[in-house]
Amino acid sequence: MSLIEKIFKFNGGINAETKKNISTLLPVEKIKIPKKLILPLRQHIGNMPKIKVNVGDYVLKGQLIAEADGNVSAAIHAPTSGKIKSIEKLLIPHPSGLPDYCIVILPDMKDKWIEKNSIDWKKIGIDKTIKLLLNSGIVGLGGAAFPSHLKLGSNRNNKIETLIVNAAECEPYITCDDMLMREKSEELIKGIQLVQELLGAKETIIGIEDNKPEALDKINLFLKEQSSIKAKVVPTIYPSGDAKRLIYLINGIKIPKQKRAVEFGIQMFNVATIIAIYRFIEYGEPSLSRILTITGNLHKPKNYEVLFGTSLKDLIKKSGGQINKNDTYIMGGPMMGFKLPSIDISVTKTMNCVISAEEDMIKEKKEPLPCIRCSKCAEACPVELQPQDLFWFSKSDQFEKAQSYNLFDCIECGCCSYVCPSNIPLVQFYRYAKSEIIAKNIEKEEADIARERNDFRVLRLEREKKERAERNAKRKLESSSGDKSKLIAEKRAEIADAMNRINKNENIK
C-alpha cells in the first residue's frame, strides 16, 4: 500500500458533531469596505511592530503602516486607502479583554493601491525573498499566527523533504478553509507549487478530513496525475488538524513536544497562508484580508472575506444576529477557542471563526464528581498522556510529579474534558498547573540571579576587606621599618613650615 493510502491513526481523539454544514450553504461573501478599520498592532506571535505613520497621514492600500520589529515579528499594512484617524488603545480579540494599541483608518472608499511589484524570487534569491516576506505581514492564518517568513526560511538549517498542507480543519463549526478550498482551489495549487519550490521540498501532501468532499473534488481537478502534490484524505477525528497529529496521520512520524517538524524534514502551512504567500510573491500584495466563519446560534451563518480591521459586530449583524439572545461569542473552535469578552472588536489575522454560543455551550455546567479513574480520558488523549494522573497531580499541587508525567506535552485539545463522565474541567487544571510551574520557574530564575548577585557582593566585600587589610599591613610595615622619630620630625617641620607661611601672610596684611 502506498503512503498516500495508509493512514497512521493516532490514539484517541473524539468524534464531535462537526456542525460544519450550517455555514457552508452560502458562498463566501466579500464584504465592502467599511467606514472604519481598526488594526491592532498585536496580531501575531512575536514583537509588536513599529508604527510607521502619523495621525492624519494619507495611506494607500497595501502601504506599510507598522514595520516588523526584529525577525520574530510581522508587519501591518493599510487594508485600503484612507486617512489615519488615530493611534489609540482599543479592545482587541484577546481573552483578557484588555485594550491594546490599534491604528484606526478612515477609508476614502477609493481603494487605491500602492505600486504593486511581483517578486522574481528565482532572480533575487531565497534569502532576499525571505527578507521581503518579513514585511509582507503574512502570518499563519490557521489560528497560530506564527510569522510565515520564519517557516519559509527554515530550510536553511534543515533540509525540507516534504511540505504538508494543513487542510484538515478538525474543529467543529469552522469552515473558512473548506470554503477557501472550494472557491480558490486553482490559486491554492499554484501557491502550493510556489511554496514547495521556495522550501526546496520534493513533495507536498495536502491533509484533508473526509468531511470535505466538495473541497477535495475541486482540488483534485487541478492536481495532475504525476504531480509531486498529492491530497491525502484523513478520517474526521478531532484533533487531526493539530500539526503533529496531522504529520503522524500522513506519514507515521511521531514528533515529540520538544522537537520541531523541520528537524524531520517536514514543514507545514495552512491553506489560507499558502494563498497569502502566493499573492505576495506573484502580485506583490501583502496580507490585507482573510476568510472568516461567522456561525453558530445565528440566523444566517456564513463565511465572509473581510479586510483586517473590519468590525466584528457589523459582521454578526450581517449574519442576522443571534437566534437565542445570550450575547456570548467564542473565537476559534468550540474545543480550543476562547470566550470573547466583547464583540466591539475588529477582525484580525488570527480570527478564523466566531461562534455565537449555542445553548449547550453556555448552560450551567454540571457539578463535577470525583474522578473515578475510568481512564476514558487516557483513551481519548491524542498525546497518549495519562490525564487522570495529571489531574490528580495538578489538583494536589504536585507539580514536579505532573512534569515528570509530561504535563508540558499536553496540547490542551480538550478531548479529555469532552469525554469525562465526572464532568471534571481537566484542561483547566492543566492550564493552572502549567502556569504555576512557569511562574515558579521565573521566580526561581529571579532568585538565582539575586543569589548570584549576592554571592558576588559577598565576594567583593571580602576582597575589599582583604585588600584594605593588605594595604594597612603594608603601611604598618613601612612605618615600623622606617625611623619613627625621623617621620615625626618631618611632620613637625611641615607644620612649622605651614605656620611660617600663615604668619608671613598676616604680616603682609
Partner: protein, 336 residues
C-alpha cells in the same frame, strides 16, 4: 458554574449512566440466578440496595457532602448488587445488611467516598462476611430442579429466620469446596458425583449463570464501559494456570472448565475486577493486574484455606495498583 474556558462542548456518558449500564448488564445474570435458585437472590438484592442507599444517605449527611449529587451517581447501588450476587441466595437478611454496611461505610466512605476507595468495596464486604460467617457464606442452594418443594414461603423463612434445618436440606458445598476437602483428607474424589449432588447439575447451573454474565460483559464492552484488557486477560490466565496444574496431575487438580465456570469466575472477570476506582488505569497495568488476580484466585482456591479466593485476590491486587500504574506508564506521543 458558567463555562468560561474551552472546551465549550462535551459529550460524555455520565457516572450515573455508566452505573446504570452496569446494572443493565447484570440483569441477565440476575434473571439466571432467579431461574435457578429461586427468588432468594431478589430478596438479597433488594435488601442490599436499600441498606446501601440508606447508609450512603446518612454518611453523606454526616460528611456534609451534596446528598442529591452523590446518591444519584449509582455507585452504591452497583456495589451493593455485586455484593448481593456474591452471597449465597439462602443467606439470612442480617448477613446482607452487615456486608452492605461494611461495603458502603468502611470500604467506601471511610476511604474518602466515590473515587477514593483503595479496595473494591463489594469485595471488602464479602471478605468480612467470609471471615466472620464462613458456614453461611459457603453454603449454596441446590439448583431448583432439586428443591421443587422449597417454595417461596420457605425461602422467605430462610431469608428472615435463617432456619438451619431448612438450609441444610437444600444446600451443598460447591464442587471447589468439596474437592478441596477431599484432597485435604487425602481421599479420592469422584467428579461425577459430589456430595450427594451430580456435578453435571451443578455445572449446568454454573454454565447458565456464567454465560449470562458473559452476555452482560459483552454488552458493557460494546457500550465501551469496559475494555477487553481486564476480563480477557483474567479468563485466559485462569485457563492457562488451571490447565498447567491439571496436565501435571489430573487426579489432584480440577479440570480448567470447572475453574472457569464456578465460583463466580465470570462475575469477577466482567464486573468485579473492572471496578475502575480500585483498579489500574494503564492498558498494560490492566493486563498485569488481571493476571495477578487470576494467579491468586487459583492458588487460594487450590492451596488456600478458603474455597473461594476472588475477594482476597482482588483486595491483594488492589494494594499493588499504584505500583502497577507507575511501572506501566505508556509512552507519550513521540517519546522514545
Amino acid at each position: 458554574m458558567f463555562n468560561q474556558q474551552s472546551p465549550f462542548i462535551q459529550k460524555a456518558t455520565s457516572v450515573t449512566m455508566v452505573m446504570m449500564l452496569v446494572m443493565l448488564a447484570l440483569l441477565p445474570g440476575i434473571l439466571a440466578y432467579i431461574f435457578l435458585f429461586g427468588i432468594g437472590v431478589l430478596l438479597n438484592l433488594t435488601i442490599a440496595i436499600i441498606t446501601a442507599v440508606v447508609a450512603e444517605y446518612f454518611i453523606l449527611r454526616i460528611r456534609n457532602l451534596p446528598v442529591k449529587l452523590f446518591i444519584t451517581d449509582g455507585s452504591a447501588v452497583v456495589a451493593a448488587s455485586l455484593l448481593a450476587l456474591s452471597i449465597p441466595s439462602i443467606a439470612p437478611w442480617w448477613i446482607i445488611v452487615i456486608g452492605t454496611l461494611f461495603t458502603i461505610i468502611v470500604a467506601k466512605h471511610m476511604y474518602g467516598g466515590l473515587g477514593s476507595n483503595l479496595f473494591n468495596p463489594a469485595m471488602v464486604g464479602y471478605a468480612v462476611l467470609l471471615i466472620s460467617f464462613p458456614s453461611v457464606m459457603t453454603k449454596w442452594p441446590l439448583t431448583s430442579s432439586h428443591l421443587l418443594d422449597f417454595n417461596i414461603a420457605q425461602q422467605m423463612e430462610v431469608f428472615f429466620y435463617g432456619t438451619k434445618d431448612l438450609i441444610d436440606s437444600v444446600s451443598s458445598a460447591t464442587p471447589l469446596d468439596y474437592i478441596k476437602t477431599q484432597i485435604f483428607l487425602d481421599r479420592p474424589f469422584d467428579l461425577n458425583f459430589t456430595n450427594g449432588m451430580p456435578i453435571n447439575s451443578y455445572l449446568n447451573a454454573s454454565i447458565i449463570i456464567s454465560l449470562s454474565f458473559l452476555i452482560g460483559g459483552f454488552f458493557m464492552w460494546a457500550k465501551r464501559v469496559i475494555t477487553w484488557h481486564l476480563p480477557i486477560t483474567f479468563l485466559i490466565s485462569l485457563l492457562l494456570i488451571s490447565s498447567i496444574f491439571w496436565l501435571i496431575d489430573s487426579t489432584r487438580y480440577l479440570p480448567p472448565f470447572i475453574h472457569l465456570f464456578s465460583g463466580g469466575t465470570l462475575l469477577c472477570a466482567f464486573f468485579i475486577i473492572t471496578d475502575p476506582v480500585s483498579g489500574p488505569t494503564t492498558p498494560k497495568g490492566k493486563i498485569f493486574f488481571a493476571f495477578g488476580v487470576a494467579l491468586l484466585v487459583y492458588l487460594i482456591r487450590v492451596f488456600g484455606g478458603y474455597p473461594e479466593g476472588i475477594a482476597f485476590a482482588v483486595i491483594f491486587m488492589n494494594i499493588c495498583v499504584p505500583l502497577i500504574d507507575s511501572l506501566t506508564q505508556p509512552k507519550v506521543f513521540g517519546h522514545e
